[in-house]
């Protein structure tokens, strides 16, 4: 079971977990990304590539399912403007065992950072700038081979 969603509205973590619990597995792992307020950031804005973004998230989930025994995975990524402290991305993996669920969850968020066409703008009050891609993110994604 693969579920991906690109949406402006906030997601309901409990409802998303409950949907995967119904697969009858022994382990769920979740990752939630939250808009950080460090360095004076007051809000962010997310842009994406309609069509390609959804396909790339499905492709990342399919790659995870070939590497780990997953009963399901969910990726929800918000777009548009979000204030500091708001959740931005949710990754959930469901597996019979914790190791697969935890590793696959880390793999999915690492790959999402380098493979999914999203672009982030940071607001500091009225000042705005595009976020630069980090070499450390590319290195983490590459470390999965």
């Amino acid at each position: 079971m693969i579920r991906v969603s690109i949406q402006e509205v906030a997601f309901d973590i409990a409802a998303e977990c409950a949907a995967l619990e119904r697969t009858g597995v022994g382990a769920l792992a979740t990752f939630t990304g939250i808009v950080r307020g460090d360095d004076g950031v007051t809000a962010i804005e997310l842009e994406h590539y309609p069509g390609m973004t959804e396909a790339s998230l499905v492709s990342i989930c399919e790659a995870a399912k070939t590497r780990w025994a997953l009963a399901g995975c969910t990726i929800i990524h918000r777009i548009g403007r979000m204030e500091t402290g708001e959740p931005i991305v949710l990754v959930i993996t469901a597996s019979p065992h914790r190791t697969a669920a935890l590793e696959a969850c880390a793999f999915l968020i690492d790959r999402l950072k380098t493979d999914a066409p999203f672009w982030k703008k940071e607001y500091r009050g009225d000042a705005v700038n595009w976020v630069e891609a980090k070499a450390s993110d590319a290195a983490r994604a590459d470390s999965w081979g």
């Binding site: 842009e47 390609m52 950072k113 999914a116 066409p117 672009w119 595009w130």
Partner: protein
């Protein structure tokens, strides 16, 4: 053949548009040759495509390298390295 160019983020803002239809000359075969040709079309294009290390590409919504052949693609996207998550 007309190809739809689509731009995102900083590239879209530098060009002041999110897409344009382009008929590349027959001698333009790869992504990098397409960038060379586009850069001759306006000062904005030249500036937006000056630093190739800050650009990524997709043909028909699949990421490709700069040496990929563009023939057969109907949609050609040019954008900065991605920063989601």
């Amino acid at each position: 053949m007309t190809m739809k160019l689509v731009y995102f983020a900083r590239v879209r803002e530098a060009l002041g548009r999110d897409s344009e239809d382009i008929d590349f000359p027959a001698n333009v075969r790869s992504v990098s040759e397409a960038l060379d040709w586009l850069a001759t079309q306006s000062p904005n294009h030249a500036e937006a495509f000056a630093d190739r290390s800050k650009l990524r590409f997709a043909l028909n919504q699949r990421m490709v390298k700069a040496d990929a052949a563009i023939s057969g693609a109907s949609e050609f996207a040019i954008f900065p390295p991605v920063t989601g998550g």
